[in-house]
Amino acid sequence: MDQTDERFFSESFLRRLESLALQFRSLAKSQLQGERRSARRGHSIEFADFRPYTLGDDFRRIDWNAYARLERLFIKLFIAEEEITLHLLIDNSPSMDWGEPNKLGYAVRAAAAIGYIALVGLDQVTAAALFPSDGRNSESSFARFPPVRGKRSALRMFSFLQSISAVSLDPSSEPAPTPYRGLSAYAAAFSRPGSIVLFSDLMDDSWQTAVSLLRSRGNEITIIQLLAPEEISPSIDGDYRLIDSEGRPEIEISADYQTLQRYQSHLQEWQASWQSYCQSRAIAYIPVSTLLPLEELLFAWLPKQGVLR
């Protein structure tokens, strides 16, 4: 481990992480027989159930012992032991590189921790930053960490995650870079559905359609929404011209008590709408303030949401 990694996670913290394991709520299709239990029955050594033979079933899986007893053909079903790819998607839009503690930094650390847990669990892990560094949506320049497996790859994954930086979006570029475009470009890059953990502040209207796209491909999605404390409860008072870090039009506000109250109620409404949206699609939605210690997120919040165990 080089110096950067040392600072990234301490040895003891990594050891504690090894006690955690990923949990998948739905079986993901997989060609390979991995070690991961899946709700989907498949080729495995662990018996699950019988079902009557139907035309076209593999003869090899007929339970002849049962035929001998019952004179009827049954197919033995086994629990599919699958290998599932964990996708760590980090929203590296400029709005993420903001806040104290920094949202992007928090996302990177959280992604690294979850990725490490997955690697330890012998799952395939891949990571990507949603926006390419030139601010354009082109597949070629897509910053992606290729799928790896095993604990040995952790350091490489860490250094890739650390290298993710916020890009400066160019709204004038055609087509304009949006989360939707980024996600659809990413989704196009891999064919098999996997478990996607998305780190983002979700501050764009196209996020929901983007998430819908991923979900429609059968991916299991966990959204970790990161908000800086300053975004949850802005501490401004007076007249301001608010400048968008992503180049959206500026907004003039007179921040007084009512305004801030209204802001917060809007924020809660917004989060509630995400909550219900995700709930209806079996998406884990976890809003997190960057003030929350990473340990608490990993050891308390995510197990509670069924992401880790």
Binding site: P94, S95, M96, W98, G99, K103, D201, M203, D204, D205, A228, E230, E231, P234, I236, D237, G238, D239, Y240, R241, L242, I243, D244, S245, E246, R248, P249, E250, I251, E252, I253, S254, A255, D256, Y257, Q258, T259, L260, R262, Y263, H266, L267, W270
Partner: protein, 705 residues
């Protein structure tokens, strides 16, 4: 509204500055945030509130501009023309002369003045101090620099019209003395203008305000009332009839008819209907009044036809007179004959002169003589011959030998007579400068003698040429030179001097009390204040205390016209003027009775008889630099006064305090508006906390139950 400091209005250039700053401020503070995504969602909702937002922003600007405006106004020191007299040291001079009793005020002029003064006092600043001076015959300071409003009101309420004129000059001097010591002093003169005011006044005209009262001039007055022996009876024969003479003046601009009734000892003796032209007089003569009449009264009554009379002053509608027949004065002259002296004495009315040769003088005959004055002309009597009775005075002229009163030490040749005190009443109208004296006796007098004329040619101590004195109530005088060896008898001064000298030596019992006094003039009782009809008592400092106390338990009683009694204690006489008692409380008009304890009282009267006061038409102040009040000419003045409107002055009332206070309030509101969110938050937090505390207490109580 005017400004004391209009230059401050230039500060208005700050208005554009504020607006400029505001425009600059409208370039809001820029803040880069992660995303305006959430804010935009909120702003869409906020669009409905946009006008209010703008208004709020403009509200701050408006408040700031308003604050600046009020502040500039405050600095410019705005003043309002406030009505009234504004002063921290107010001197109120009330004219309490008789004319202030005229009933053309509310109801009298003094009442009008009173009301206006009370209004002025009411409008004074809280720390204003007030001095109240009643300018009567002699000015009185009733309240001096008092801030006690109750005391001031009381003093003003208790003001009374005096019967005489007003000594406004002295009052103004007092006021000026007070005003000089005080900053921001104002002198307010409340008068009908019928006052003597000197042209030269050391008072700054700007601090002197004249508030005129009164409006009418209709008045008739009894100007003169006398009771004298009838002209045909000038010989002094007893039982002669008396004549009443009365003079009535009409000060109205219209001719009037007035009925005058004369009463003698209470009974009407004459009624006359007079028709008096404007500003002229009519007189009545009523002869044949009984000589026993002691008191005469004249009254002005209503018109003969009973119609109301325009007469606004009542004080001068009644007058009194007492009969004061000249008392016979018995003088005994002991000498070898002196034509000058005898002639001079015989000219004094009522004198009964007895001539005695020195050799005829015997002690018994002198003592027994019913004589008031014994004159020893160039004769020095035996000590036994000198009268000892208090009723008998002694005059020595050119004594040759020493006596108990003096010692003759030599002769002075060609003395130069000069008066020691030029204003001595005995030397009044006596011109000594042309008097030549050949020689005079050089005398050493008893210590109780008071030299009046001395020899200016001799070295000090100069020998006296004329001295008077009083020893145990007995009066005596010494003239050091012989009338024959001087040209004094040829001078005009001679009969005057002797008349006054004799008057002092033998005033007579009633002669000391004048028949009539002007209001406020002191009644001086001098000499042998008799305590019994025999005149044997002594009323002076040196007399035997026990004896006097038995004889005059009440002293001298003077009954005023209103029935109140003043008691003069001879003991209280001024030690500088032994045997002299002064009664100065003669401000009431009418008949006074002086009772020496004998039961037989001697009356004297006090009448107004003052054309200055009877001419009640309001007048301008005599000095021109006193700013006149609202009404300039008497006609306008009269109308204003009749309408009951107060004469008002204006003064610049400073308003900057109000403006500054308003600015402070605006500043506070501006601050609240600016920090409204904080204020609301704090309030809600406080409410929340208190609600929690309340809930906790309720919980506790429930648990306790």
């Amino acid at each position: 509204m005017t400004f004391q400091n209009p230059a401050a209005l230039w500060l208005a250039f700050l208005f554009p500055l504020i607006i400029l700053l505001y425009l600059l401020k409208l370039r809001r503070e820029e803040r880069t945030i992660s995303s305006t995504y959430l804010w935009r969602r909120m702003v869409q909702d906020r669009q409905a509130n946009a006008p209010w937002q703008r208004l709020q922003r403009n509200l701050l600007l408006f408040l700031q501009l308003l604050f600046l405006l009020v502040l500039i106004l405050a600095i410019a020191q705005p003043t309002r023309e406030a009505q009234g007299i504004h002063s921290r040291a107010l001197v109120l001079i009330f004219d309490v002369s008789a004319s202030m009793a005229a009933r053309d005020g509310s109801p009298t002029r003094l009442d009008s003045a009173r009301q206006q003064a009370l209004q002025i006092v009411e409008d004074l600043p809280a720390d204003g101090r007030v001095t109240v001076i009643a300018a009567g015959i002699s000015p009185r300071t009733l309240v001096s620099l008092s801030a006690d409003r109750r005391l001031i009101r009381q003093a003003i309420d208790q003001l009374q019209v005096g019967a005489g004129g007003s000594d406004m000059q002295s009052a103004l001097q007092i006021a000026a003395a007070i005003a000089q010591r005080q900053a921001d002093a104002q002198i307010v003169l409340l008068s009908d203008g019928n006052i003597d005011l000197p042209d030269r006044s050391q008072i700054d005209p700007s601090m002197l305000h004249f508030i005129p009262v009164g409006s009418r001039s209709e008045n008739q007055a009894i100007e003169l009332l006398t009771l004298q022996p009838s002209p045909s009876d000038q010989t002094g024969v007893a039982n002669a009839s008396l004549t009443i003479f009365a003079q009535i003046a009409n000060y109205s601009p219209e001719p009037v008819k007035r009925r005058v009734v004369l009463y003698a000892d209470g009974a009407p003796v004459n009624v006359a209907d007079l028709e008096i032209a404007p500003n002229s007089e009519e007189s009545i003569l009523a002869s044949g009044v009984l000589s026993s009449t002691r008191l005469v009264e004249a009254r002005l009554l209503a018109n003969t036809d009973g119609s109301p009379v325009p007469d606004y002053l009542d004080l001068d509608d009644r007058a009194f007179a007492v009969a004061r027949p000249s008392e016979p004065l018995s003088i005994t002259l002991v000498g070898n004959g002196n034509l000058f002296l005898e002639t001079a004495l015989s000219l004094i009315p009522g004198v009964q002169l007895t001539l005695l040769k020195p050799e005829d003088v015997q002690s018994s005959s002198l003592t027994g003589l019913a004589t008031s004055l014994v004159i020893f002309d160039q004769v020095t009597p035996d000590p036994a011959d000198i009268p000892e009775s208090n009723a008998q005075a002694t005059l020595f002229i050119a004594p040759l030998q020493s006596s108990a009163f003096f010692t003759v030490t030599g002769q002075i040749a060609l003395p130069v007579p000069v008066a020691i005190e030029p204003i001595d009443p005995i030397l009044e109208h006596v011109e000594l400068s042309g008097v030549n004296i050949l020689d005079a006796s050089e005398l050493t007098l008893a210590p109780w003698f008071k030299p009046i004329i001395e020899d200016a040619a001799s070295p000090r101590p100069r020998p006296p040429l004329l001295a008077i004195g009083e020893n145990d109530g007995q009066r005596a005088a010494v003239l050091a030179f012989s009338l024959n060896r001087s040209d004094l008898p040829l001078q005009v001064a001679f009969p005057i001097l002797f008349s006054q000298l004799i008057g002092w030596l033998a005033p007579g019992q009633t002669g000391r009390i004048p028949a009539s006094l002007p209001p406020g003039a002191p009644l001086v009782l001098t000499g042998n204040l008799p305590t019994d009809p025999a005149g044997g008592g002594i009323a002076s400092q040196a007399s035997n205390d026990s004896a006097r106390d038995e004889e005059i338990p009440d002293g001298i009683r003077i009954t005023r016209p209103d029935g109140s009694v003043a008691r003069l204690d001879p003991q209280a006489a001024d030690t500088n003027h032994p045997g002299e008692l002064i009664f100065a409380d003669t401000i009431q008009l009418g008949v006074y009775q002086v009772d020496f304890g004998t039961g037989d009282s001697i009356p004297f009267v006090v009448n107004l008889f003052s054309p200055e006061e009877s001419r009640i038409a309001p007048q301008e102040m005599a000095i021109s630099n006193i700013p006149a009040a609202a009404g300039i000419n008497p006609g306008e003045q009269a109308e204003t006064a009749q309408n009951g409107a107060a004469h008002e002055y204006t003064y610049p009332q400073a308003l900057w305090r109000w403006a500054a206070g308003l600015a402070l309030i605006i500043l506070l509101i501006e601050w609240l508006v600016h920090f409204r969110s904080t204020v609301i938050r704090l309030t809600q937090q406080a409410l929340h906390a208190s609600g929690q505390a309340l809930g906790w207490f309720k919980l506790r109580r429930r648990k306790a139950q």
